[in-house]
Amino acid sequence: MDTNQYIEVFLDESREHLQSVNDNLLKLEKQPEELTIVSEIFRSAHTLKGMAATMGFEDVASLTHQMENVLDKIRNGELVVTTEVIDVTFSAIEALEEMVESISNGNDGKKDVTELVSKLEKIENGSSTHELHESTPSKTSDTLFEMDEYQSTIISQAAEQGYQVVQITVQLNDDCILKAARAYMVFEKLENKGEIVQTIPSVEEIEEGNFEQDFSLLMVTKETNTDIEKVIHSVSEINQVEVSEFTLEKANNNEKQESKPESVTPDTNTEAPQGKQKQSKTIRVNLERIDNLMNLFEEVVIDRSRLEDLAQKLKEPELTETIENMTRVTEDMQGLMLSMRMVPVEQVFNRFPRMVRGLAKELEKEINLEITGADTELDRTVIDEIGDPLVHLIRNSLDHGVESPAKRRESGKPEEGNVSLRAFHSGNHVFIEIEDDGAGINRDKVEAKAIENGLLSAEHSEVLSDEEIYQLIFSSGFSTADQISDISGRGVGLDVVRSKIESLGGNIIVESEPGKGSKFSIQLPLTLSILSTLLVNVQDEIYAVPLSAIVETMLLDETQIMSVQGQKVIDFRGKVVPIVSLREIFDVPRQDESKEENAVVIIHKGDKMAGLLVDSFIGQKEVVLKSLGNYLRDVFAISGATILGDGQVSLIIDPNALVK
């Protein structure tokens, strides 16, 4: 079978199931008695196994199969949930994730799973010695029906109301040809006599004639067995009919695990189990298509601004009106399209509980991870990139931040450390914070290290505030951990984290209080592709300044510009703000000597500000950010380019580079 067309769906669904197993395992660890969770995990493993086998990924299938065996025993009360079981299952899940990733990278997803399989087998068999002595009832051959919740409810209700439940097996003549039509006739006859609850094979299969000469069904009825037999025999080509009474107890052999938790906690279980996720109508769309749509839309935006320019020139009221309307519509479209690309940050956060659990064990620390705002949405591209930096920061908090239980006790803190991971929206940005209640950053150590590494001079260090010193940990070649552990502190790291975040258009700062803990805050833009900008003139060239960075615009008198140590500054609301001339920075040729630069755009980065000296302001414009391509990477203070309405290319300024 050609399975290539299904691979995307397979991967998506596999990831979903692995994630659900992950979540449920963590839950199970906290409440090992909860068998509904085991059933959930079992179901996911089972689905995975089926999918993998269909797709021909043998290793995935064999590992999930063995997992399923263990889970099945737990589900049936033959095995107890121990830390060992959870650990091994976690490593199995890890291996499965690796395999799925390898498949998604176009490989065959092969991996040596024999060790894991044998570990699982050992659990499965090893504990079978203290198997519960409740003898597993032999499968009675006369019942093949497996009930789901709904069906067993119907059956038990029917019994209460004086209906009887019968199991009917109908055998057709050997020479019967149109079996489906014949079966249809049987069903039609029976429909007047009661309600058919379940059939084997399924109704669909019977309708397609996919059965040997016989089929079975379960129905709720008030008729007697002989009456039913008679009714069925009135149909031609029926060889044999068997009607027998059916009770739930009979079925319980097969579906013990399902009915058990039900009977123990009848309906008190208002909190629906994980598996019953809220149903929303969704379709899966390849991200590429949305990107294509976005690209096309960007072209529309460019044409729109061209039209806007034309309308301004022609001054035709009807045209202007139409274009204004189009502008509104396209703005709505843009919002929608951006929201399509938005994914909850949950996708990234999901993997952390397990990671923290594993790390805490390894480091012999007790750590409680608290996640809030997992439903905060971020642009897909940002989501894809933000995972690694976050992993690094969390590792960092666990390793360097939270102290060992002994140390914590000494300093009067609870032994269990807290790490919180928070995400929230604010304005045009999303913030992600990682806060721990550990030892905090030691200013002296950072200072000493920075001086040692030549990042700082001794006398300069005295002027700097704590905050400023802390930011040094993001400089390259920096690690304050006394001992390099496996987990972090190889000295490559925080600087990589920072550059990654900056490449996403965000920034990171750290706050810390000795003895109380530290907090890393990451600020990320909501979207990356369409920007609101202010267009400015510098001689004959047009530049775009992102609106998000602009504090204010103003016109200056020559006299207001002062000079401090050779640097031009102005007094901006009582603050001394340095002034830079865009003409000088970008080396724009001076066409017209008479043009006097006196317009200033005040931009900010964090608390710091700077003024950009330009010739004149043009106005606000939505522009589409296009990268400069691979040849022109890392151009100073330029983040990209855009095409304006009249076809001119304008460079987009990166304000972060201009504020020091």
Binding site: I177, L178, A181, S236, E237
Partner: protein
Amino acid sequence: MANILITDDAAFMRMQMKDILTKLGHQVVGEAENGQDAVEKYQELQPELVTMDITMPEMNGVEAVREIKKINPDAKIIMCSAMGQQGMVVEAIQAGAKDFIVKPFTPDRIKESVEKVL
């Protein structure tokens, strides 16, 4: 012993069917060669039982069943189908046909069917 109307567009099939039914002791009161014909003859002859081919010109068997059922909701009709007409057969049953037999017929099968329906 019943009065039966046979419907089939192939004369050969009608002959064969008539033969078998007669041997079983029934009375073939009429033969129709398409659905339209069958509906008219049904009204005229008021047979106790109709055998109905499915694929026929003018009006097919399923439509004919519907028409006849309009005339007499209790009409007893047995469909005669070729292999691979499962869908049509189910449709005919839904329309109210009482049974179906699959070509090629055997006398036993026809006997069983007629007895069950009557």
